[in-house]
Amino acid sequence: MKKKINQPCEPEHDFALIVGGVDKLTPPIEDALFDAGCDDATLSIQYGLLYMEFSRCATSLEDAIISAINDVRKADIGAEVLRVDECNLVTASEIARRIGRSRELVRQYRTGQRGPGGFPPPECHLTDHAPLWAWCAVSYWLVQNDLLRPEVGWNAEVVEAINNFLEGERQRQRHPGLVDEIKRGLQPN
């Protein structure tokens, strides 16, 4: 998993964790996080939440994020990792920004004027002027059509899976029976 700086560094992965339960930087909290292995994270407080910006050496982004979450849990400071700071729902402009291309090109992908067609439909806000797309679906389409590096698409899936898992954990804490209730109500897919 994570390697120390004096050892050969595997690929370095940049990501940020948003952490609840800590709204101040104090020496005991900082020391606990540092000693738990978060010496590769820069801590800050924003909107009453702990924000941890990591540059972590690990074989994969998945390993880097999971080991970082485990380090925060190991610090035992009453903190709860809420999510990786990456949003799956994106505007068309954000899609353009993420792939480093123009908004016009993204519009052409959507309408089929450019590219192979079959661009994923938006996920929500369909009646607004600014619908939102699922970045995982868009990046999958881009990878399938050789318009994006496969690891970028895979990393989007990894981040979304981790965020869904973390959100699921929190939801089970808030409403333990809700997921089972929904499962019972839905017909098998």
Partner: protein, 87 residues
Amino acid sequence: MSRPRHPKPAIERAVQYAEQLGWSVEMSSGHAWGHVPCPFSSRDGCIIGVWSTPGNPENHARHIRKKIDSCPHRSETEDEQEECDES
């Protein structure tokens, strides 16, 4: 400069960058060398921690600069200032 210099040059330069933009520096203890609080009035407790001996000083310095440049309160304050100027 009345505060001690950070022993890692890259981090010292990042802290000086913060100071040039009006951020202050508060010394701390333990693994934290200090804290850099956001100077804007609506800051909601916004603050950046600076390690004494981070795993990688260059990365830490880069993170500090990034946080300063992306501080959400700077634009809020600028918006408020523009509203005041217009009225």
